[in-house]
Amino acid sequence: MAKYLLLKHYRGAPAAVNDVPMDKWTPEEISAHMQYMRDFASRLEETGEFIEGQALAPEGAWVRYDGPGRPPVTDGPFAETKDLIAGWMVIDVDSYQRAVELAGELSAAPGAGGKPIHEWLEVRPFLTEPPTISE
């Protein structure tokens, strides 16, 4: 089993096929989208492949050490210029193929007009501990 991070982006990802901002959808379309994501997560819970999912607020800042005795430097939030991560889901699956398959399924969540969004999701494997026994 290997863990993968599925990243959703507010910005910075290539444009989705059905690229309509959420506030332009109908309330029913929003509900359908949310329901799709909930159903997806609970199906993965049943297969034992779901680890966790979290949504992130859009604000963020860059923070950096600025020398001894000085407060950290903060910069940002650069709302217009940097990638923004909207949220993630962590899954624990048997293969990379399975991770890609699930990401594809998540990307098909319905959006405007009830049609799939086809948004780009980033799939990143977790780095893990070295194996205790290696052959």
Partner: protein
């Protein structure tokens, strides 16, 4: 196994150990050990006096862990000479625990964790689960908190306001798994109200009950928010509302108004209205004026602007809002709502989008996005 009974005995047992001279951290560990032992032994061999049993086991455990083997004889003497378990005035001990666990030297999250464990009798695992924190992190948080309060000398009465703030924080948290934090906060506040005669304790208890009574109607089955005006009032728990109103009236009659009583009064006026349209907004604005006088909080003034919008019309609400800093949390959401009521749908839709971006939680973000979507579709 009666877990509720075990939990309700925890603070009294802990308080007695501390009063007998055990330091707080060691006493707390000993009580936890005794609880574990109770869970193991009681089903087959229930004690006649559960509290006495717990005190004896916890005290022995405390002595075991604090005295070296070399002092065995002395320890046995001590066990022999321990006061016989029996009716003990636990009220003062309980109170002291509340004050200790909410001590100002603790961060709010540590105070909350320690209160749930020492006063509430929850396990570290349950608390970690309720706050979605790994168990190891929560264990660290609790032992740090215990170390800090172990150095606290308790020679003066604690500050009730600090305790109430901690209980309020517990109540406000969401909950997952097997611990319902809102219900737990109510249980602890009831216990506190029984131990101390203070109108603000009653005020907080009333406030919690009045909000708790509406809980079932606050979210739709899919988890989305249902605004107050659209809630199914038939699902409000009238028994809990009546109890809350009763407690509040007794507290108000004592004429020592505080912020929790004022908040509870507002909640009671909402709970009292048979329909949203029949809400007594004029009286609610008056209570917000009291609350603003008591707290001088900008958040209170923001809520007041909403009430003014309902009592005197959207324009009046917007005027009240204009006097406030627009960086306040939910300021944009309130502005959007008042502009919609005023008929300016385009501005309202734009503000709902902005408010959704600033929303502090998912349910609110979804709700505000839906509001924006609703208005944009109505304008077409």
């Amino acid at each position: 196994m009666n877990e509720a009974l075990l939990r309700s005995l925890t603070p009294a047992v802990l308080g007695i150990l501390v009063r007998r001279g055990a330091d707080f951290a060691a006493a707390e560990d000993a009580v936890q050990d005794a609880l574990v032992e109770a869970v193991r032994v009681w089903p087959a061999d229930p004690p006649r006096d559960p509290k006495g049993w717990l005190i004896t086991v916890a005290w022995r455990r405390f002595l075991d862990t604090t005295r070296a083997d070399a002092a065995r004889r002395r320890r046995e003497d001590l066990v022999d000479s321990e006061p016989a378990p029996g009716p003990t005035p636990a009220v003062d001990d309980n109170l002291q625990l509340y004050f200790l666990c909410a001590h100002p030297s603790l961060t709010p999250s540590s105070a909350v964790a320690l209160t749930l464990r020492a006063v509430g009798g929850l396990t570290t695992r349950q608390i970690a689960h309720a706050y979605l924190v790994p168990e190891a992190s929560m264990a660290q948080r609790i032992s740090r908190a215990k170390r800090i309060v172990s150095t606290v000398r308790f020679d003066q009465p604690g500050d009730v306001a600090t305790v109430l703030r901690v209980l309020y924080l517990v109540f406000n948290e969401g909950y997952t798994g097997d611990v319902d934090l809102a219900a737990e906060a109510i249980r602890l506040t009831r216990q506190l109200a029984a131990a101390i005669d203070h109108p603000e304790v009653a005020g907080l208890l009333a406030l919690m009950l009045l909000h708790h009574a509406r809980r079932a109607s606050r979210t739709a089955p899919d988890g989305s928010l249902v605004p107050l005006a659209e809630q199914d009032r038939g699902r409000w728990d009238t028994g809990i509302i009546a109890e809350g109103v009763d407690i509040l009236q007794t507290a108000l009659a004592r004429d020592r108004l505080g912020e929790f009583q004022a908040q509870a009064a507002i909640a009671a006026l909402h709970a009292d209205a048979p329909t949203a349209e029949e809400t007594d907004w004029v009286q609610i604005v008056e209570w917000y004026d009291e609350l603003a006088r008591l707290t001088d909080s900008p958040v209170v003034r923001l809520n007041r602007a909403v009430a003014v919008g309902e009592a005197d019309g959207a324009r009046a609400g917007l005027a009240a809002l204009a006097a406030l800093d627009d960086a306040l949390p939910r300021h944009t959401a309130v502005a959007a709502y008042l502009h919609e009521r005023d008929g300016d749908l385009a501005t309202a839709a734009r503000l709902y989008v902005e408010a959704a971006h600033r929303a502090p939680n998912l349910a609110e973000r979804d709700h505000l996005t839906r509001q924006a979507a609703r208005l944009k579709h109505r304008q077409r």
